[in-house]
Each structure stands twice: as structure tokens, then as C-alpha cells.
């Protein structure tokens, strides 16, 4: 529930948002909680917002752990773990 994933900030967007990248996939996240975010730095992403910055070595170590756990999960259940859900497209119903 408090899972937070390190991602690299690759671009700044409008309204205090930014684009972060993980494994070649880009996500738009909120930067409102970080003081002066800089392109290239690693951020800890939780629930669509950056909650803290972290150095490159720490980010790599964390991502390695997630990948180990994801591989274990795959072996045990045959299911993929999504660290970050796909971007939302609100369904239009009713």
C-alpha cells in the first residue's frame, strides 16, 4: 500500500507535473511534493506523485529488489507484477 518505486525524471510538464521513466515506459506524475526537482534525478513515486528524491545507487538497489520479487512472483503464480498501473483512461459508461 505504501509501495513506492524509484523512477528517473526525464521531462517537466505543465501544472507541477513531470514525466518519469521506468524500464522504458513513461508515466506522468505530480511533482508538487518535491522541492526544485531536476531532470535526470531519481524520484520515489507513490500513488502518482513523487514523495522523495533518492540517489542513483539507492534507486538501482531498490529496482533490483523489485525485479527479484517480481521474478519470484512470476515463478510461483505465473502472473506478472505491475509496479505501476497503465495510465488511466476513464471509461465512458451510463
Amino acid at each position: 500500500m505504501c509501495l513506492a518505486v524509484p523512477m528517473q525524471l526525464v521531462a517537466m510538464g505543465a501544472d507541477e507535473t513531470g514525466t518519469v521513466e521506468l524500464d522504458g515506459i513513461q508515466h506522468t506524475i505530480g511533482l508538487m511534493l518535491i522541492e526544485e526537482p531536476k531532470i535526470g534525478e531519481y524520484l520515489l513515486i507513490h500513488a502518482g506523485y513523487a514523495i522523495e528524491r533518492l540517489d542513483c545507487a539507492e534507486a538501482e538497489a531498490r529496482l533490483a529488489l523489485f525485479r527479484t520479487l517480481a521474478a519470484i512472483h512470476r515463478q510461483e503464480t505465473g502472473q506478472e507484477v505491475l509496479l505501476v498501473a497503465a495510465p488511466l483512461r476513464p471509461e465512458t459508461r451510463r
Binding site: 500500500m1 505504501c2 509501495l3 513506492a4 501544472d15 505530480g30 508538487m32 511534493l33 518535491i34 522541492e35 520515489l44 507513490h46 500513488a47 502518482g48 506523485y49 514523495i51 522523495e52 533518492l54 540517489d55 539507492e58 538497489a61 531498490r62 533490483a64 529488489l65 527479484t68 520479487l69 519470484i72 505501476v84 498501473a85 488511466l88 476513464p90 465512458t92 459508461r93 451510463r94
Partner: protein, 370 residues
């Protein structure tokens, strides 16, 4: 069974086993026994997954506390969300909440019965739905500890500045330090140390635990998530016991600052104020939750939609409350693995992947050694 093979650095894991055995013996020679509690769902999962308890000396017990915000959400909040869905409101919440039992039903069943209930990864989903459906009321069921509050409020701040009129929060926010204080005060528990949650600490700062060390003599270590981090954390707690001096040892200073994230703290303080709130299985704990300040009542689902969350009804046979307090291990519950399992969860600790019961069922069923 032990998963030492699962450690990426098996030599280091083996070294920890030796170190902890030596320290445990030293502590036992002083006549000591120690009970440490972890209060983070990710720690709970890693402890079960890597059989961390197999590494502990006989003089040390490791219990799981209320580290999963899903597990501690009173069923009354789920009842209220289901009621709002039946009134035609669109409910948005984190996916982990969908199968958690309310008093009579779950959000998943309510969705199957026609309620519009969206599970999300980010609260921004609620904002996007509010923009996409201006004719509908959107209610975000806002559960979470300090880590999650800041993103939810960042979303609310955007909604307020954009004058979005059809979005409210059903707040079920919980604070970690007050529940730790309540657990310390419980005469049936004797907690000697806390393995503090890393991401909660990133927001509130390592200093937040100082009263536990300074006033209550409870050892505190802020630990990372690697299995080796957790072993290192237990070692740090044990060394504090042996030295006879409790302190806050921030082993995760690479991410957690002593003062925490000030921007997040200011945002929380701007929108929310403390309130006495009910924790599933633990009852009402004074000032252990945060609710919207009166000036933001128009964003409060309870006042806006004329409803008051009432404490819900629990399954009388479910012992999640005792599990959350660390008084029993999941396998001591008569429902565990029999009537209650991940495919058919009767209690929240089995629903959530971070819950003690779910973690124990998946990784360590029957492996009770202490």
C-alpha cells in the same frame, strides 16, 4: 524451511545469522528476552517471504503490527462507500480495498451488483473522472497512512484550485505514531523495539519516533526493505537492548531525512486536523486519524452527502484485531487457511498482499516456530 537461497547475497545473510546468534546469546546471558514489532506491510511481506524469523535467536521474537492501512480500515467506511455507490455516486479507491469485507458486503460485490466503483493506482483518477463526468458526484475513499495522505491532498489541492465541484473525499486516514503509542500502552503487550516503516518515515521524518525512545525506552530503527536491511534492522534493535540505551537509529538515511518531507507535512497540516478514529480490531484511538478541516467541508463526503460513518460489524470468529496487535500469529486463528484464505478472505489481513495473514499463507503456512 528457510529461504537463505533466495537472498541475493547469501554470504551476507549467513553472516547475519551468526551475528544475530552471538548478540542473542549475549542478550540471553543478561537474562533478556526481546519482542520487536515491524509496522510496515512491505516488511511483513519480506519477513514472510524470506523466512526472516528463521534467522532470529531464541531470545528474540518478531511480531507484525498494524502496518497495512487496508487491514486497519474499519468496515464502516466500506459500508458507507457501498451506500454512496447505491445512491449513484462514482466511488474511486485503491485496488487493495475492493475485496475487504464491510459489515455485509464488499466493494467488489457492490460493483458486480451495478455500482460504479473504480479501483485506481493514483488518486488523480478521481480528479479525471470528476472532469469527465461533471453530472456525477465522485467520492474518493481515502485510506492510507502518512505516505498516501500527501498524494491524495496534492490531488485535492489541484481540484480546489481548478474549482472542481463534484469531487469529495471519504477520509479514513490513519497516523502511525499514535497507534504505536497505543500498542506500547497495552498491558498485554511488551514491545521492546519498533522496526519503523520506511516510506511513512520519508514523510514524517525519523525524529517522529524520538518520544518512543526518549520517554518509553523503546528501541527504534528505520529500516529499508531488502531482506538484508531487515536483518540489519533487527541487529540494530538488539544492540540497543544490550547497550541499555534506546534511540532512533535511521538506517535508511539514504531516503529518510530526520525532519521528513516538509512540503508534504505543510500540505497535510493545511487541509487536515487530528481526530479520534476507529481502527479495525483495535477500536477508537485518540488523535490517531486526520480529517478535513471545517473550512474544506465541501470536499468532505460525509458532510456533503449527509452521512456519518458508523463503526462496522466484524466477523466474530475473525481474529485480525489480535493479529494486528501482534498478540497472535495468523496460524493461531481457527479460520486461517480453512474458511479464510486468499481466494475467500474473511478478514482484511488475508485480503491484502501486505496483510500478515496473506503473507503468512502465501509464504510460510504452518511454519510457526515461535
Amino acid at each position: 524451511m528457510n529461504y537463505i537461497d533466495g537472498f541475493r547475497n547469501q554470504d551476507a545473510a549467513a553472516r547475519y545469522r551468526v551475528t544475530l546468534a552471538q548478540l542473542g546469546q549475549e542478550w540471553a546471558d543478561q537474562g533478556g528476552r526481546a519482542c520487536f514489532m515491524e509496522v510496515c506491510g512491505s516488511h511483513t511481506m519480506a519477513i514472510a517471504r524470506f523466512a526472516i524469523r528463521d534467522f532470529l535467536p531464541p531470545s528474540v521474537t518478531l511480531v507484525s503490527g498494524p502496518g497495512c492501512p487496508v487491514c486497519v480500515t474499519d468496515p464502516g467506511y466500506i459500508d458507507a462507500a457501498i451506500e454512496l455507490a447505491m445512491q449513484g455516486k462514482i466511488i474511486v479507491t485503491f485496488g487493495d480495498m475492493m475485496r475487504v469485507p464491510g459489515s455485509r458486503s464488499t466493494l467488489a460485490k457492490s460493483r458486480a451488483a451495478g455500482g460504479w466503483i473504480e479501483s485506481c493506482y493514483s488518486p488523480v483518477t478521481a480528479l479525471e473522472l470528476a472532469r469527465a463526468h461533471p453530472d456525477r458526484e465522485i467520492v474518493f475513499l481515502a485510506i492510507g497512512f502518512e505516505t498516501t495522505m500527501a498524494p491524495v491532498l496534492a490531488m485535492l489541492d489541484t481540484a480546489r484550485r481548478a474549482a472542481i465541484p463534484n469531487l469529495t473525499l471519504l477520509t479514513a486516514f490513519k497516523l502511525v505514531p499514535p497507534v504505536l503509542a497505543a500498542l506500547i500502552a497495552d498491558p498485554e503487550l511488551k514491545i521492546d523495539g519498533f522496526l519503523c516503516p520506511a516510506h511513512v518515515s520519508a514523510v514524517i521524518g525519523a525524529h517522529a519516533y524520538r518520544p518512543f525512545a526518549d520517554t518509553h525506552g523503546v528501541a527504534c530503527v528505520v529500516a529499508g526493505f531488502e531482506p538484508l536491511d531487515i536483518l540489519h534492522g533487527v541487529e540494530g534493535l538488539l544492540r540497543q537492548k544490550i547497550a541499555g540505551h534506546a534511540t532512533v537509529d535511521n538506517q535508511y538515511s539514504r531516503v529518510v531525512r530526520p525532519e521528513g518531507n516538509r512540503i508534504a507535512q505543510r500540505l497535510v497540516d493545511h487541509y487536515l486536523m487530528p481526530a479520534d478514529v476507529s481502527w479495525r480490531g483495535l477500536g477508537v484511538i485518540p488523535a490517531s486519524g486526520l480529517v478535513l478541516r471545517p473550512e474544506f467541508a465541501r470536499f468532505d463526503a460525509e458532510s456533503r452527502h449527509g452521512l456519518t460513518v458508523q463503526p462496522g460489524r466484524l466477523n466474530p470468529h475473525c481474529l485480525c484485531g489480535e493479529v494486528l496487535k501482534g498478540k497472535i500469529r495468523p496460524v493461531h486463528c481457527s479460520l486461517f487457511g480453512v474458511a479464510c484464505h486468499p481466494e475467500h478472505p474473511l478478514g482484511p489481513c488475508m485480503v491484502s498482499s501486505e496483510g500478515s495473514c496473506g503473507a503468512e499463507y502465501r509464504f510460510a503456512s504452518g511454519g510457526v516456530t515461535r
